[in-house]
Symmetry: C2
Subunit: 180 residues, 2 copies
């Protein structure tokens, strides 16, 4: 098992890591006038992720009424265990000063896991919009405890995206939440 | 300010994101017989990071008595807000089954921030070795509360690395912990 894994994760000749170029995504600059409009961007990211063979969870970082960056889970597409919807979105936004995070809302289709909750707390993002928390209940209570405003929209399309995915690819889903 | 940031983070023609190739790092496969030996690998990663112009925080994932992967903070080198020592290490390790994380120890030169704490919790890593928590006290109490074994080695070299860095680049450090 360890041998098998070792072979899998140690390519003989990995190239040098490439500097990350901020990629705010196809929805950057879109004005959003409501929480539902903001969620629509995250849902489109989730759909884009699913269309690319991945986990259908999307996110958007909204600042001053427009999308600053968006992203989606990249476990499959980029073989990354740390690029969930929210963290991919933060990576796509690039390095930002605290003053920008302080005006930001993180919008995500699914209740944020421990890691993404921690990322939101690290950067002091004061508001989080969650599409749904029925198929997975993350660490949103910790967000509330730390003073973050959490809005759960209980969106039927977000639920449907996850239900379809979990039924189709339970192993991938369990890997993504550290359970398999 | 917002305009200035927008210009900075939205290149006109970003290329497509590159699939992440697991890069377990130069110390993968090294046997470690003690917590201090494990920390020495994380310290070497921190030094490597500092030598590359970055934040001197390093990490290693130890499984079954050897280094599975290592990494260091890549805020400067890869312009990433989500690649701290621990998350870079997890990214370098690639996709792993829960059974591997369950046997793992995360070794880090500095008390883990909220995000890295969350990543450790997400993947159910049961043991964390921390070089020092004098220059920054992260969310290690949450780790303990959630049943993770936390060992703080209070290592003088880890303290010295951070003290030198914080004195030399306070703005960069404050950006990295979301305070500036």
């Amino acid at each position: 098992m360890a041998e098998q894994h070792a072979a899998q994760s140690r390519p003989a000749q990995p190239g040098p890591a490439q500097p990350h170029i901020p990629r705010p995504g196809p929805y950057a600059g879109r004005p959003v006038g409501s929480d539902r409009e903001a969620l629509a961007v995250a849902i489109q990211e989730a759909r884009d992720g699913r269309a690319g063979g991945g986990v259908p969870i999307g996110a958007a970082l909204v600042v001053d009424g427009e999308v600053l960056a968006s992203g989606h889970n990249q476990r499959v597409q980029l073989a990354s265990p740390i690029l969930h919807g929210e963290t991919d979105c933060l990576a796509n936004a690039g390095r930002l000063p605290a003053s920008v995070y302080a005006r930001a809302t993180m919008v995500t289709t699914l209740s944020p896991c421990d890691m993404c909750t921690g990322a939101i707390l690290l950067y002091g993002i004061p508001r989080v919009i969650i599409g749904e928390n029925r198929t997975f209940y993350g660490a949103e209570d910790l967000l509330r405890l730390r003073g973050v405003e959490v809005v759960v929209l209980d969106d039927a399309e977000c639920v449907a995206l996850m239900e379809e995915f979990i039924a189709a690819e339970p192993d991938l889903w369990n890997e993504d939440i550290g359970e398999e």
